[in-house]
């Protein structure tokens, strides 16, 4: 594995990331993060989610501004299509996470990236969500991600970059491995 080369610039501050890795391995408490989102129902299948704060490095942290995401279902589901379908938001999360990893690993390995595009497709048998067939799962039956990478390295090295990014990706882990989900309900209003 080669060290980061100063002439390579993918816009990733690898020194800072490596410094954080070193510091956090000494202070594992600071590595405990909490990620949050809130979501408000608008109307029908349309909802609006936002993220503002998270916890990490031992204290509350603020995003530079609030980010909002609208989600809805498409017209074929008799909805108004006022936002991405939630499952598409999941694909966006996976793609962005892998993309960030590709850039960071490329910087670390001294590979200059010129352009990178990921295209995702996930199959789903909607007999699951419609409750037609109990043997069909609700979620994806698989996700295909294809990366097109223009970078200054061999095809194998670029492939290794994308493989390493999967190995380090949070969203890749979240979608490939089970996670306990606890949902609680409070009556209001």
């Amino acid at each position: 594995m080669s060290e980061s080369t100063s002439s390579v610039d993918n816009g990733v501050n690898v020194e800072a990331l490596l410094g954080a890795r070193e510091a956090l391995s000494q202070a594992p408490e600071a590595a405990q993060f909490k990620w949050r989102a809130t979501c408000d129902w608008v109307k029908g299948t349309h909802s609006k989610s936002s993220v503002t704060s998270f916890f990490g490095l031992g204290e509350e942290q603020q995003h530079r501004r609030e980010f909002t995401f609208e989600a809805d279902h498409p017209e074929v589901f008799a909805s108004e299509d006022l936002g991405a379908t939630p499952v598409e938001v999941v694909l966006c999360g996976l793609a962005s996470c892998l993309m960030a990893g590709v850039a960071a690993v490329a910087q670390h390995r001294g590979i200059q990236l010129n352009s990178v595009k990921a295209t995702l497709e996930a199959g789903m048998d909607i007999q699951g969500i419609l409750g037609i067939d109990a043997d069909v799962r609700n979620g994806f039956d698989g996700i295909n991600v294809s990366f097109e990478v223009d970078g200054d390295a061999s095809a194998e090295d670029l492939e290794a970059l994308v493989a390493q990014s999967q190995k380090r990706s949070a969203v890749f882990d979240i979608v490939t491995n089970p996670t306990n989900v606890n949902v609680s309900v409070t009556k209001t209003g």
């Binding site: 492939e159 493989a163 999967q166 190995k167 890749f172 491995n177």
Partner: protein, 421 residues
Amino acid sequence: MTGSSDDQPARSVDAVVIGAGHAGLAISHCLREQGVDHVVFERGEIANSWRNERWESLTLLTPNWQCRLPGFSYSGDDPDGFMSMSEVIDFIERYAGKIDAPVLTRTEVTSVRRNADQYEIATATGNWRSRAVIVASGACNLPVFPPVASASPALVSTLTPHDYRNPSQLDDGGVLVVGASATGLQLADEIQQSGRAVTIAVGEHVRLPRIYRDRDIQWWMHATGILDESLDEIDDIVRARNIPSPQLVGSRDRQILDLNAMSDLGVRLVGRLMNFNGTVAQFSGSLRNVCALADLKMGRLLDTIDEWAARQPEAESFSPPERFARTRIDDHPCLTLDLDRDGIRTILWATGYRPDYQWLDVPVLDRKGKLRHDGGVVSDSPGMYVLGLPFLRRRKSSFIHGTEDDARFIANHLTGYLARQ
């Protein structure tokens, strides 16, 4: 402290070695060469781990020519063969005899404490005091389980490589082998061939061909200097120390033991075991990526070997470079498996090993229970050393042939320490 020995005065010696595996014996030889008065404690017999903690069919994955220790090497007529367990035990026993090692067998060390500049060692047969301690008690004393093991369904029996001897001890049903490194693949192979249907859960692994360009892979790893790589040549030593064992087996027919060979035998490949939900096992969807990582990593190693080979004066004499088929994965590897419905009756945890330091009463373990050391020198406790851990000083450190360099370094360091004290 053991009650009976309390009344006897502690015996005194310059150095004690804990463990009479090959590592403890090798350092004993080096200490004797330096004239350091010492004794070796062994809880069982010489080569105890090889006698009691290995399965029957196991052979070394390192060839006979590579079996050497300081002042001793393989002298039989099959340098390219691989030792069986009885041959390994015999090899190590003959070494102990040849170097006339001062071993006290059946002498378990129950506590090591530090008192000012001295160590106090309690053993099953009496107390000792020394100025230096060498921990050579082994890297593989206990099997390691992932946290998910505690949720194993009651209907299956669970087994570790330390309990496993041969397939006949298993129920006739299917077997889930968790872990695809040397141990997992060797056992999956043997159990599948015994007629039991094996499923193997595959996390990150190291793929290596047994034979490359007509030579044993260990020959290449040795010749290129990869096995000699030392601490200062590695950017991430923590990672290097945690690399799993390579998918290799030392068999007469030099078979390639990889996941494709497993598939050919009919073994089912699934992703890393993540969770149990009642009797349903859940596997990670990362199987394809862990296989891609291993394929790519093997490719890079073979590139390194080829580049080295091309630079040699005898470059012409090597067979041409080869590349191996990628790991074949089903389009839809199984993600959940009901062990009950699928007839799986045994889970074999081939998820690694760790040392046992329960007897060590000196605060030198990190928060993960690993001994903190600097190339074998336990800097937090002067006079204490450790030997036989993965990548202690070099990539070869945990192998029989890797012990000599480390043992010599430690014996020198220790001699210097005793002289300064």
